[in-house]
């Protein structure tokens, strides 16, 4: 009933609006149509008022929302990109304000006036030069700076590469899995054909390096130490995104990718600073991967080296929990497959006979 009445009211309002519109049209047809009417002034005024109101509102909101923007960067490269980011933001906000201000101010100022003398101004090489050169110079500076930061991030010094902690992170529908190299600091071989419900990574235990690999529930890393994430995916594309670390790298089936970083603040420190005892660094997925894409959460725990070492030593290798996998690997799998297919062939031949 309420719906019905509401619907009726809406219909009535629409009908009235339509009638008003009809009347206005007919009146305007009868009265004749001036080329430029009063509405021009209204539109011109709005061209001035609304952008100013908008900028004030945006400025105000930027202030109160500041605490929700970029979370503090907790990686070394993150601090560099953040600095560049804020400088770039100031530059583009300036560009945005200056050009929009000119646009709307001119729109307002040069609104139609009977008998206004229009300047027949259609070309000026100097002006064109200036506004080609100015953006070009600004962009050059940003590019060179950005390039430097990029290479700082992407080229890992040899010594750091060697001592870096190698961790594997694997995406699958829908979750993240991590693997540590164990005592030998060497990640063992894997093959997707070895994957099953228990051996999620498809580890190849014919490789000695696999034997001490372990897979924890959370990603632990020591503060201040270089870490290399070796990223892979099992089924479709995913992307590792750890916002606090300014870290993002796609996880691609069939291709290993890497991200190198050095964390700078422990989870405990961050909790204390924020006054949030349950704070955690998180990993999210940023490449659409299906139904559960929005829920691929994983926790990163950054801790002091001592704690980290202790934790590391406590972790049990996969093989210890699943001893039946010992020695199983690609060679035995291929052998088995071969034998199976031989057997199948034989059976088929027999059946045909």
């Amino acid at each position: 009933m309420v719906n019905f009445i509401l619907g009726l009211i809406v219909c009535l309002i629409l009908i009235i609006a339509f009638m008003l519109f009809r009347v206005q049209t007919i009146v305007s047809i009868v009265k004749g149509h001036p080329r430029v009417g009063f509405s021009n002034k209204v539109n011109a005024a709005l061209m001035l008022i609304l952008p100013i109101a908008g900028v004030i509102a945006a400025g105000w909101y930027s202030g109160i929302a500041a605490k929700y923007y970029l979370p503090e960067a907790v990686s070394i490269h993150g601090k560099q990109t953040d600095f560049l980011f804020w400088v770039a933001i100031y530059i583009i906000v300036a560009m945005f304000l200056v050009t929009n201000a000119a646009l709307f101010y001119f729109a307002y100022k040069y609104q139609y006036k009977e008998g206004r003398k229009v300047t027949f101004f259609y070309d000026n090489a100097q002006l064109e030069m200036v506004w080609t050169a100015v953006p070009a110079i600004i962009l050059t500076v940003l590019v060179l700076w950005g390039n430097k930061v990029w290479w700082n991030m992407m080229s890992i010094p040899e010594d750091q590469k060697k001592q870096a902690l190698q961790i594997e992170i694997m995406g699958k529908q829908f979750g993240w899995y991590t693997r540590y190299p164990g005592k030998d600091n060497k990640l063992g071989r894997y093959d997707f054909r070895l994957i099953d419900e228990v051996n999620e990574f498809g580890l190849d235990f014919e490789d000695k390096a696999s034997e001490d690999d372990f897979m924890p529930k959370e990603l632990h890393i020591p503060v201040g130490k270089p870490v290399v994430l070796n990223v892979r995916a099992r089924d479709v594309l995913h992307s590792v995104f750890a916002p606090h670390f300014r870290l993002k790298m796609d996880a691609v089936p069939g291709m290993r990718t890497q991200f190198f970083f050095i964390p700078t603040k422990t989870t405990a420190q961050m909790r204390a600073e924020l006054g949030k005892p349950d704070f955690n660094y998180e990993i999210a997925c940023t490449e659409v991967c299906g139904k559960g894409h929005f829920a691929m959460k994983y926790i990163i725990v950054v801790e002091e080296e001592k704690e980290f070492k202790k934790w590391y030593a406590e972790q049990k290798p996969f093989l210890e929990n699943n001893p039946e996998y010992r020695g199983k690997g690609m060679k035995s799998l291929l052998k088995k497959n071969l034998a199976d297919s031989e057997k199948n062939k034989k059976q088929k031949e027999l059946a045909e006979l």
Partner: protein
């Protein structure tokens, strides 16, 4: 039409047009076209253009409606959406909420529809078709038949895509970029089943349509310009359509290749994009393929595509701003130069969509340099628009309002490109709402504004009637405010790291903030969408009941306004007008002494305007006069 007649006596090029025109008469006299030939399987570029327009508007409505539905989910995650059950059926699950798979399907369809069906076919298809012959002075497209096919391929593509909305497993759902392996494996998500097959079929048809259209536009612009319409005198609209068609012709085939390989991977067991996959409890046999290959192929189209969408809008804006500021467009040469520059550069920046795909850091470096170069011609265009307004005498028609709005959106969305193009910064921002804000402002909204501006401006030429201006003003202000309120706040969320294509943000500590902002944006989206209903009413009402249009309602210089108010097939009744000057002689000093007001159309010879000619035009005036005298003698 002009091409398939051949007359031996047409020895002088100039006479060519006379003959086409005779032929046009014949046409009118001899066979009255049947309704079907005239309105459905028409070869008249004007009818075809309207077909593109109406189909595009239909899709725009649908695409917009989808965005309202998923904005409800994002803004009000707790809301019960039972009331949508009659529309969406089982996509609303038992708890009265949108199914997450269907959320992705909606996002995907919204993107595909908006980018391809609305802003490519609806925008470029409509205005390239409508304006190219009318503005260059041609009786029709080079091939009316191909042109007709172009529309019907688009129609077929639309039908297939529309059907895909109703299949049991839902339409494609892997994002509008449909990256494999997700899109290649039906077991990965329901949308990758039949829905994805239909997506590929539909897009293949769409590509054929675009190519047929593009070839026609290019040929027409090169071959069928009327006498005197040199490239240097082309209105900027035509330059934009021309370059757009070239971009399409060079890039869409690559998308076709990408789609074809995807079809092979899906149904023939090949491994172009697939390797080492374990899914649904089994290891797939595919080895050696690369999902990255698809991304390269896709973005080789994808980036030019963003300009295919934007350039026509910019061309339309140039025309409208000059006309309504009553002032020549500033820096015509620079405008043409930047269109060409953007066109060229748009082919060598594609990998900036892949900075985090794991490609070689050196490539990342190269693509950052190239990407940021493209910002320069974009900036030049913005400055030229602004300077065109300076010391003009601006009439705010609805078209003009939307054009000014476009420039603002183009700037606001363009500046964030500078940040995204910087690979070091893109690491954090890639695939977050920052990117969503960027491209919705610079491409989505700006191009949509261009399309709407074009409709308001050329409606009188299309339908012989005027749209209501007051409704136009209301439509503009609601849309303009709405668009900024929806997309500007997305920057904040993007900076905070909110990933795109998320059904819900509540699972993460990091993305718990901005709940109110999300609700606010959803309300703004609903208002902006509702404002489009005003436009729809105005459009259809004015088509039948609007005020009758005068021949040249905006006081424009371009040739379409010299044609009859309701031009028939063949456009001009008598001779095709000859062109003597560029399209931007607005408010030329001393024009009043020549008997003109604040505009001198392109078909007015320079020798008729001795007082207002610029010094370098005086010489040209003499030449034109001599030529015309010569011609008269020949004909007489």
């Amino acid at each position: 039409m002009a091409t398939h007649i051949h007359n031996e006596s047409a020895s002088i090029d100039a006479l060519h047009h006379e003959h086409t025109q005779e032929h046009a008469h014949e046409h009118e006299h001899h066979h009255e076209e049947s309704f079907i030939r005239k309105y459905i399987f028409s070869e008249d570029h004007k009818i075809i253009s309207k077909q593109f327009l109406i189909t595009g508007l239909f899709w725009a409505f649908l695409g917009g409606l989808m965005s309202v539905i998923f904005r409800l989910q994002l803004g009000f995650p707790e809301m019960k959406l039972e009331f949508l059950r009659p529309l969406l059926g089982t996509w609303i699950n038992e708890t009265g909420k949108l199914d997450p798979n269907f959320y992705l399907a909606l996002v995907t369809m919204h993107g595909t529809i908006m980018v391809f069906f609305v802003l490519t076919a609806g925008l470029s298809g409509t205005f390239s078709n409508f304006l190219i012959p009318l503005q260059i002075g041609a009786r029709d497209m080079a091939s009316g038949f191909l042109n007709m096919l172009s529309y019907w391929f688009f129609f077929a593509s639309s039908v297939v895509m529309f059907i895909s909305l109703f299949v049991e497993t839902g339409p494609a759902a892997g994002g509008w970029v449909v990256y494999p392996p997700l899109s290649a494996l039906p077991q990965a998500m329901p949308g990758s089943g039949l829905g994805m097959t239909l997506w590929l079929v539909s897009m293949s048809l769409f590509i054929v349509s675009t190519l047929l259209g593009g070839i026609n536009y290019i040929t027409t612009v090169i071959n069928l310009r009327t006498q005197g319409m040199s490239f240097a005198r082309l209105p900027l609209t035509i330059w934009a359509f021309f370059v757009t068609a070239v971009l399409g012709l060079l890039s869409f085939p690559v998308l076709f290749a990408a789609a074809l390989l995807l079809i092979f991977d899906r149904s023939l067991g090949t491994s172009f994009y697939l390797s080492e996959i374990y899914i649904g409890g089994e290891a797939l046999p595919n080895m050696g393929g690369s999902p990255i290959l698809y991304q390269h192929l896709f973005w080789f189209l994808g980036h030019p595509e963003v300009y295919i969408v934007l350039l026509p809008a910019l061309g339309i804006t140039s025309e409208i701003i000059a006309t309504n500021a009553r002032k020549p467009i500033f820096g015509y040469k620079a405008m043409v130069g930047s269109i060409l520059g953007i066109g060229f550069l748009s082919f060598i920046v594609w990998a900036h969509h892949m900075f985090t795909s794991g490609m070689d850091p050196f490539l990342g470096s190269v693509f950052m340099f190239l990407t940021l170069i493209i910002a320069v011609p974009s900036a030049v265009k913005a400055f030229n628009y602004i300077t065109t307004l300076w010391r003009g005498n601006i009439i705010f028609t609805p078209a003009m309002l939307f054009s000014v709005g476009l420039v603002s959106l183009f700037i606001s969305g363009g500046v964030t490109g500078i940040i995204l193009g910087n690979n070091a910064l893109d690491i954090q921002l890639h695939d977050t709402y920052f990117v969503v804000a960027h491209f919705h402002l610079v491409m989505g909204s700006a191009s949509f504004f261009g399309m709407v501006a074009g409709i308001y401006h050329w409606f009188p030429k299309m339908f012989g009637r005027m749209m209501d201006e007051k409704l136009g003003y209301i439509h503009f202000w609601l849309t303009f405010i709405g668009v900024y309120l929806v997309f500007f706040p997305m920057h904040y969320m993007g900076i905070a790291g909110f990933p795109r294509r998320y059904y819900s943000f509540t699972g993460f500590d990091a993305f718990k903030s901005f709940v109110d902002l999300n609700a606010f944006m959803s309300v703004a989206a609903i208002i902006a969408f509702s404002a489009q209903l005003i436009f729809a009413f105005n459009f259809f009402y004015s088509m039948f009941r609007g005020r009758r249009a005068p021949q040249n309602p905006w006081g424009s210089n371009t040739l379409e306004w010299t044609a009859p108010i309701n031009p028939g097939h063949g456009n001009w009744i008598g001779d095709i007008p000859k062109v003597y000057r560029w399209a931007y002689d607005y408010s030329k000093p001393n024009a009043d002494k020549d008997g003109f007001t604040d505009f001198i159309p392109q078909n007015i010879p320079l020798y008729q305007t001795p007082h207002s000619n610029l010094p370098h035009e005086q010489e040209l005036a003499k030449i034109q006069e001599a030529e015309d005298r010569e011609m008269k003698k020949l004909v007489g």
